[in-house]
Symmetry: C2
Subunit: 167 residues, 2 copies
């Protein structure tokens, strides 16, 4: 597996990966009927953002991560990030590889911390991954996410300081 | 004092109020050199947003509040809001009046809770107002705001459930 910067021509492979996750409505606050145009803008065009893809040995896209400032200006030293992995690539460590890549990349880009604002508490795979990578659950906002089967569930706010990069 | 929906023609009075607060850089994560065009879009054009103004007996704008979904779709039942009061109107209860108005308005618009993601901890007037109105500090993200004189300070995430509106 290789992780590299995303190119515009990757979008054709990214959209089905994003679509499946967004349409399920279980882990992201995006509308389940998000259009391709809106998804493309949200994933690829966040102000100050960078987008990466994990590809297999044949160059097939297995997953993607995007990183951007959590707030502008006086809050821009804290990164936020999003992750999407193809269901067909589940169990291969793609999410963890992307997560470790982004933590390192964010530190080297000068971010001092990473914060997630909306980790759905029923998304135990993601919560477990972030806890294993040193994030704390700094708050759980009660009933903040309307899950399609579980009803109103909490959303975790997760945070960790970043290691100073080795020069 | 009267609180009413903002109209497009209020902008000429709103921009100096916003500009003074934003240029100080002490309470909002907006760039201190935010342009009028960007400020107008951020304040007046948030998706699903509503904007209100507090005016005195002569119709002069004293302050403004905007309210919008904190997240789209599955998170859209939680409101977020922003408040700006003219320095010339300080001490007259404008902020509290706008806050109480917005809490009531949000409940009647169907929101179930209100959440603030970025209350700068040195902004003790705002923090005290929200605590007095029933908000909890659910987390303080350390060193998340680069204050022009205090350096890196925390940002509170504050939250409260909303009362069910009386029909």
């Amino acid at each position: 597996m290789l992780i590299r910067e995303a190119h515009a021509e990757d979008w054709a492979e990214l959209w089905p990966i994003l679509w499946e996750i967004v349409a399920a409505g279980e882990t992201y606050c995006w509308p389940t009927d998000t259009t391709e145009e809106a998804a493309r803008a949200w994933w690829l065009e966040k102000p100050g953002g960078r987008v990466f893809v994990a590809v297999d040995d044949s160059g097939i896209v297995l997953g993607t991560a995007e990183m951007h400032p959590n707030q502008p200006a006086a809050g821009s030293h804290v990164a936020n990030a999003g992750f999407m992995v193809a269901s067909s690539a589940a169990g291969r460590g793609v999410g963890r590889a992307l997560a470790e890549f982004i933590l390192d990349r964010a530190a080297r880009d000068g971010y001092r911390a990473m914060q997630f604002n909306a980790v759905v508490e029923t998304n135990t795979a993601a919560v477990g991954l972030w806890l294993s990578l040193g994030f704390d659950i700094v708050a759980t906002v009660p009933e903040a996410f309307d899950h399609p089967t579980a009803g109103l569930v909490g959303m975790h706010i997760m945070h960790r300081m970043l290691d100073r990069p080795v020069e």
